[in-house]
Amino acid sequence: MKSVTNKITSSIISTCIPDHLFKPFPANNMQMMTVSGAKGSNVNVSQISCLLGQQELEGRRVPVMVSGKTLPSFRRFDQGARAGGYITGRFLTGVRPQEYFFHCMAGREGLIDTAVKTSRSGYLQRCLIKHLEGLRVHYDHTVRDVDGSVVQFHYGEDSLDVVKQKVLTKFDFCAQNYEALVGRYFGQGVAEGVEEGGVRKRMRRVGKLVKEAEERNERLRGMEERGESEDAREEVVREFVESCERQGVRAVVRGTREVKTLEVGGEERVRAARFAPGRYLGSVSERFVEELDEYTKQNPSDIISTPSTTSSDFKKKHAGDLIKEKDFKALMEMKYMQSLVEPGEAVGLLAAQSIGEPSTQMTLNTFHFAGFGAKNVTLGIPRLREIIMTASGSIKTPMMRLPLLPAAQTRQNTLCKQISRLTLSQIMEGVTVREKLIFADGARKKELVLRLKFWRKKDVEREHNVSVEDLEWVIEKRFVSALEKAITREIRGRVRKGEMDEVGVALGNFERVGEGVAEEGGEGEESGAGKEEKPSRKGKGPAKKPREVAEDVNDDDDDVLGSEDEGDDGDATAEKKAGNRTQRVGYDAADEEDEEVLKGAERKEEDGEEEGAAGEGDSGKDSDGRTREERIQEGSKYCVGYDFDRRAGRWCELKLQFAADTKKLLMVAIIEDVCRDVVLHEVKGISRCYPLPNESENDTSVNIGTDGVNLRGMWDYASLIDVNNIYTNDIAAILRTYGVEAARAGIMQEIAGVFGVYGINVDTRHLSLIADYMTFEGGYKPFNRMGMGSNPSPFAQMSFETTTGFLTNATLNGDFDPLESPSARIVLGKPVKGGTGSFEVFQKIDRKLRPRRRGVNAIGANDIMRQEVVEAY
């Protein structure tokens, strides 16, 4: 519906604006305003002169009330566009009352959204800043935290200032303004103290050796094929190693015993590894060298003198002389040096703000359903919080992207089915339960006959690749024992309290009524089968909703709390928690949430128990010689009969007996639940698998996506999947399987992706710094209280959150604060050690100038007196 109406809306707008306005562009003052960019946008224009279009609440059309209407003025279950919140009116001619109301609803949602959002992104930014405030660039180009631990060896990997590098690669501009730039960078005194230091010479040498290594590798391969003697081959290797040694370049010998490969040490090829970029001209990033070479080769404006450019070409376009390639390169290298980030720069703060600021622009919209079957992932601030603030081990929407190998590309769909989880309920057509009272073994008993009906064998085999034998095996091994468990639990009446209290009562009733009918309908197979699906669905639907909503509203707390619970010692008493909570109120309130979390944990525990027990039930009844029926009867408390349609696999019958006084069981509901849990096949952790459409047209790879992550599980499909290109958004999983460097790359990619959806481009230097900070301790460090634990400054910790907690810890451990971190220095009223505060001045004081007062004399025992910059001025 939405997609249809949206198409209409945009077609109306595009027809009307700008060509069919009553007054076209230059004469139309409103258009004048938006086109010139003075104020307003196309949205405002279309709202005034075309129509308002579809109004959305939480990403959907206007919801219906219990009465089935969206507003009292509409008819019940009106499917029309208007009733769903489509506004055909415009501000110029006015809107109808109903439309006005819908517009107000959507408008209010927007307002609420903004209100909620600001606090969220504000807190996010605070967390980032508190962690990164101490990071600054040092004189050796490293980025270090206050305690001197190295976060990056070169800021942003090339030591360039984010602002200055913007113009650095505008080579054409620089070439055109050559004269001016030379004056600026090589003017009097500017270039003083800059050394060339033999960077170029050395790099030329290394370049030659790299080439030589390649040649020799080729030669070695050839010699191997020709079967030349080992000594001869060894000689080739030795020559190379020796020539490297002579020139002071590290050589590496790799390869196998037969075919050795020669290489020049990786660090030799990186200029900045040996030469400090701030000191030696020409020590620039490798990418810069490439780009510069590319430019001089292309020479698009014919400014640089190369063999191919003649001065007549040049004269046509420019005044003055051609620039020598060498001179231009020197200029650009000088410019590179000038564009280096300055020591003392608080790059941590810059990164934090560069993430924090754009995150305020993101709308808090997680409901991006791009149709059924496509991926549906958390976006926006919630996702950012997941990656950055909680460094979550279990993210909300984990997914994987599996690129297929060329050989397997036609098998996309089959593979999807293989990997997807298949439960018994998916291949079941229905279930009927017949109940009667019988007399057996001298007692009255209730006998229940369950008949599970499956889809046709042919279909099941084709669709899910499950044979009848597999099916029967699953029923015997998994279904019966699971059913048993469920029944026992039901009889014992161990109904989970929490669920009943919260959502149960009213809805529970409803369910029961439906079920009752299904059961009492006894002999009539039809009635049972027909009804089994409906009631429980209705029961489930609304029951789920409030929980989801609650989670969304408070999800804030859940993260922080979750991690806190981990961190606290075993004896984390309620008292302590209460204390923590009161402190936290300012940042993230709402108490229901932790109950939610606790409940979640309980639920999980119970699930775990079930699984374990079911597993036990499985084993032990697998001796041969008995029929399946006997085995089932033996292993089961209630089961007395079993039959299976072995030929067509259409049905399975189970006969259960209970004592007559057993309380009434809602059998259909139980079976339904069990069937949903009984798994025919799955890759652990993965619930769904689907073909992924390609993002761009010239991308010819074939990918499949999964909900849920299990990287190792995918390795079993290495013959079909390109395992070296698997991608996942679960950073913790990357960390576990591929290591910390991959996790770092994943963090960068994921953060960039979150902003990318909104068309925001954050500089990679900021992203890399954040990713490096999160991973430089070898793990995945979150930007929250837990991550703060490794901060060396107790003052910084305390000024973040839970002051007393950190204070107590610091006191107990006898920690001290070296007063290096910005927070600590502000606490004590000292200037922060960043920027111009990052250095101090030692000044030699002339004896004569030294004040004669005695107190100072004592300090001036040696002739050097230490003064802070502030005092020196």
Binding site: D140, R250, V253, R254, T256, R257, E258, V259, G265, G266, E267, R712, W715, D716, A718, S719, V723, N724, N725, I726, Y727, I734, T737, Y738, G739, E741, A742, A745, G746
Partner: protein, 161 residues
């Protein structure tokens, strides 16, 4: 074990075996070309004498390129490895006079085995991997940068800066 399952097991062990070779090669041990690039059929011929994987046959012994130190890679058979196979590995290492070892086990190490390993950890260096971990060479993944072991000289240069 059905034929299909057996085939799968062989292919699996073949991949583990290859990854092991790639790993020791990356660590600077000398391996031969045919060993690293072993094909599935070759593997089946040499390591699966009667159609089934013989993990004893798979044992790998390599020497380091520059230091000449030996390294022994052993594949264990038991699903849950106890102290006995570990003792055997240690003994093998003694016999071959190597100080470094890699143990590849199918599923789990018992606490006893762990203890046995911890005891010798001072004199010998033994690393453990599960087969599942070595199914795929993770260093070949796109997100993983190339790792190089630093030489002492390089360490010095870095720390001097």
């Amino acid at each position: 074990m059905s034929y299909e399952e057996n085939e799968r097991a062989i292919a699996r062990m073949w991949r583990v075996y290859k990854t092991c070779y790639e790993m020791v090669q990356d660590r600077g041990y000398v391996v031969s070309h045919s060993e690293v690039n072993i094909l599935l059929d070759e593997f089946r011929q040499s390591k699966c004498p009667n159609g089934q994987v013989n993990k004893k046959e798979m044992q790998i012994m390599v020497e380091h390129r520059s230091t000449g130190q030996g390294l022994l890679v052993s594949f264990l058979v038991d699903e849950s490895v106890g102290i006995k196979p570990i003792r055997q590995v240690i003994e093998d290492m003694m016999v071959h006079k190597v100080e470094r070892g890699i143990v590849v086990y199918p599923k789990t190490l018992t606490p006893g085995a762990n203890k046995g390993l911890a005891e010798v950890q001072g004199t010998l260096t033994v690393e453990t991997f599960t087969e599942a971990e070595l199914l795929v060479n993770i260093t070949k993944h796109v997100l993983v940068p190339k790792h190089e072991v630093m030489s002492d000289e390089e360490k010095k240069i870095l720390l001097d800066r």
